[in-house]
């Protein structure tokens, strides 16, 4: 979804509790690391968190097209 809707975004995986997503001049610092820890291939993030991040970045319409479950 971010690849499609937030081209050039940066994914930060160096924090103890959350993933950070940086895009343009905004930072979303609170995507919680779930039970699967830091393995990027097994990330499970509740859609409410994804929807909230999409609203914060003002890309919700694009995000809904990319992720039907939103």
């Amino acid at each position: 979804m971010l690849d499609e809707c937030a081209e050039g975004y940066e994914w930060v995986d160096s924090k103890p509790h959350n993933f950070q997503v940086k895009w343009k001049d905004k930072t979303y610092p609170s995507l919680p690391k779930g039970e699967h820890g830091k393995s990027a291939s097994k990330i499970e993030i509740e859609r409410g968190h994804v929807r909230k991040m999409a609203r914060f970045f003002d890309i919700l319409d694009c995000a809904k097209k990319a992720l039907e479950q939103l």
Binding site: K15, P16, Q20, P29, S30, G48, H49, M53, F56, L60
Partner: protein, 167 residues
Amino acid sequence: MTKPRRNHAIVFSFRDTVEGNGFLARVTTRGRALLANDDNSWWVYGVQPGAIADSGDSPQGAYASFRQAFTKVLFDFAAGAANFTEFERDVQAFIAAVDESEEGRWRSAVEALRSGEQEPEAPFDQLPRVNADEYDYGVVVERLDVGQRHFTPEENRIDEYALTNCA
């Protein structure tokens, strides 16, 4: 008969003490958020700060999760900051970032309550009320590990949260 609201505009005040790389900081935040029932769960969506949310099975559970999530963000900032100045910069930026689309929903919820269009149902009817326009939003980041700092119990604060009132 008024319809139950799905969105509830709240304000909150948190005080956190955070240990960082070579510093001890106190963060006092006064913010606002939207409590909503989405996907059969309760969610607290940050308005200011806007880049945070969390959920629970009940409004109280969602609020507790949101409170813990907020502290975790501060701890992440502390872990990534080389010094107090960097920590303060990151916290200030986080709190200042308003989610503008969420703010629209928050204002609609405030107006619905203020106009009498809708009444808060339980458990929201038990919350204290504050005037949304008079609440002083923002953050104060203080460094505590400085010489001559005098501590008193009067500085202790309990978390507060309230429903924005209907005047």
